[in-house]
């Protein structure tokens, strides 16, 4: 009772004090000054540039972004272009496979490592080191390994296994799997680290209780531990997902979109139209579609994480 009275009085005091407006601006002045780069980044880059891109995707900008408003024409053209449609399809197919395999392999590896194995840190080091390398390095190494004549296929055939076939980067039907092998090599170790942190975060009591009830280990992992790791799983999905949408360097290094257009991805399409295709409007429309994809992934996540406060 007394407390509320004091607070009210305090509030009233502030609003009637002279120079109230200048106090708002001058209060914490050096903090505001120090946070200026962040404020500018947020307003200019993350908000400003995004709005700019969305707006100009509705114009007929060619070499310079000065075009007039033409509604959804760029988008109609986008989805009438086979290269874009192939890109979107590739991203969906690659994305689905990459997400599932990264999570499954990451989880399996984490479970294996969690069995109190010897040389745990050696195994972890081996599994995570590709993550330290760039996608360019990753792509180029695998390009060499998958070289049809001198790489793995050539070597195996020379060793007498004539039937051995591993020409995925030269085969339009298989090239996505070539990307997948390189992508998984790069990213699964990171997923394993996340999952392992999640596994280690599960209370030992849970394990004891499951053991007392006679639940088999695999069942405990799938039905008890995995649901308890919801936070880590969601984080992993978001990180892997936003990485997939950005997929660019790896494609450039491994296949450069080939053979033909069979491994094109949206990020590459957008880049080419913006910087070498001379049709900025097309590039911006593609970029806006990429943004839309991310929003479709992000909004349910944000809702789960910040909307439903009652959970957890």
């Amino acid at each position: 009772m007394a407390d509320t009275a004091v607070r009210m009085e305090d509030g009233a005091g502030v609003s009637t004090r002279p120079g109230f407006l200048s106090r708002i601006f001058l209060h914490n002045l050096s903090a505001k000054f120090a946070a200026l780069p962040m404020v500018i980044t947020v307003l200019v880059v993350f908000v400003g540039c995004t709005i700019w891109t969305i707006y100009y995707s509705f114009t007929n900008s060619k070499l310079l972004p000065t075009g007039k408003f033409i509604g959804f024409d760029q988008y109609e053209r986008l989805f009438a272009t086979s290269r874009w449609n192939v890109s979107v399809w590739n991203l969906l197919a690659y994305g689905a496979m990459s997400l599932v395999f990264t999570l499954v392999i990451g989880f399996i590896l984490a479970v294996l490592i969690d069995q109190k194995v010897r040389f745990e840190s050696a195994f972890r080091t081996i599994m995570l080191y590709p993550f330290a390398l760039s996608f360019i390095v990753t792509g180029l190494v695998w390009q060499w390994i998958m070289n049809p004549t001198l790489g793995l296929q050539g070597t195996m055939r020379k060793l007498g296994w004539d039937w051995f076939s591993f020409d995925w980067i030269a085969n339009p039907k298989m090239v996505l799997f070539a990307l997948l092998i390189a992508g998984l090599w790069h990213g699964t170790g990171f997923c394993m680290v996340l999952m392992l942190a999640g596994l280690r975060g599960v209370d030992e009591e849970v394990w004891k209780a499951a053991r007392v009830d006679g639940i088999p280990t695999w069942r405990t992992y799938l039905s008890i531990v995995l649901p308890m790791m919801r936070g880590v799983l969601v984080t992993a999905v978001v990180i892997i997902g936003s990485g997939i949408v950005r997929l660019y360097d790896l494609v450039v290094a491994l296949t450069n979109g080939g053979p033909g257009i069979s491994s094109e991805v949206p990020a590459k399409y957008v880049f080419n139209y913006m910087f070498s295709g001379g049709n900025i409007g097309q590039g911006l429309a593609g970029a806006t579609m990429m943004l839309l994809t991310v929003l479709i992934i992000m909004i349910p996540w944000a809702y789960l994480e910040f909307g439903g406060k009652g959970r957890r």
Binding site: A31, M38, L291
Partner: protein, 310 residues
């Protein structure tokens, strides 16, 4: 030896039958389960190690040896010719200066970008925790959300902005871009770290009349070495490995190592020299690999930091 180790690592689950010797029954080391476990782990490890092996082995071979066609084979007479060529004279399709200029460009990009981005993010995190102002949390939320926007969405407007600032195609432009896009994750990192420090220290300094910068430099910074190490690892590897920003903003004469490497391997004319290509690839991977092996556990902490939400 193996049995004692197993016993020590298994927690004692309680002895129901008190008559028998207590503790879990000693297990033999070679159970079927263990064999499967280690076989799987070794199998996966081979998958992860194979490319590194192939990379190094190929770079030490001569071209005739490579054309013979066995990527598994060790080099007959290991020599560093390909490494020297990759460093000094490999062709990118435009010039034949090797990777060395790219390496130095990457150094010139990585060092200032790392310092500037970490400093700004540290100040941001500090202001967000200790000097909240109206709207600071909103800006932070947009910043974090912004880190999920694909770069392609903001790329073209940023090109226009850097052109307006007359820095497009220079090192300053790349440094600026790395600072901007490094900000979300680094700010999050520092914000969470500063929030975990005891607030009494800050309050005491405040009572003693220390201001924003004084508290930051004299109290906060000396206490935040661990998070600086994490941020350093994150930024050095991240910026060194960047391709997109380098290719767009740096300008031809400032291309970082990754861009040069890609040009050497993918746009050089003539017969490809796989040993030179692989030597160049190893060279480009050497800096982040060194950071990775030297930093050990810190690297894990650094990459996992991206997963910790505030």
């Amino acid at each position: 030896m193996s049995q004692t180790a197993t016993m020590a690592s298994t927690p004692v689950t309680g002895s129901q039958a008190a008559v028998e010797p207590s503790g879990p029954r000693p297990k033999p080391f070679f159970t079927p389960k263990k064999i499967i476990l280690y076989t799987t782990l070794v199998f996966f490890s081979l998958y992860y190690l194979f490319p590194l092996y192939v990379m190094v082995v190929t770079s030490l071979k001569t071209m005739p040896e490579i054309r013979f066609g066995n990527i598994f084979a060790l080099p007959q007479t290991p020599n560093l010719d390909a490494w020297v060529r990759a460093w000094t004279s490999a062709c990118t399709g435009l010039t034949c200066e090797g990777l060395a200029p790219g390496f130095w460009n990457s150094v010139k990009i990585t060092i200032p970008s790392t310092i500037v981005s970490i400093f700004i993010a540290a100040v941001n995190g500090y202001a967000l925790v200790n000097w909240r102002f109206k709207g600071s949390e909103v800006f932070f939320a947009i910043l974090i959300f912004g880190s999920f926007i694909p770069y392609q969405v903001m790329l073209y407007p940023l090109v226009m902005i850097t052109r307006e600032l007359k820095i497009f195609g220079t090192l300053q432009a790349v440094i600026l871009i790395h600072t901007v896009f490094g900000m979300p994750i680094l700010t999050l990192l520092f914000r969470n770290y500063f929030a975990s420090l005891p607030q009494e220290l800050f309050k005491a300094a405040r009572v003693d009349g220390a201001g924003f910068w004084r508290i930051f430099f004299e109290i906060m910074l000396p206490m935040s070495l661990p998070i600086f190490v994490v941020a350093l690892i994150l930024q050095v590897t991240g910026i060194w490995n960047d391709f997109l920003f380098g290719v767009v903003f740096a300008g031809t004469q400032n291309y970082p190592m990754t861009v040069q490497l890609n040009n050497i391997v993918n746009s050089a004319q003539g017969t490809p020299e796989y040993n030179v290509n692989m030597a160049a690839t190893v060279l480009t991977g050497l800096v982040p690999l060194t950071v990775y092996f030297v930093s050990g556990k810190w690297f894990v902490r650094g990459v996992a930091a991206g997963a910790v939400k505030g």
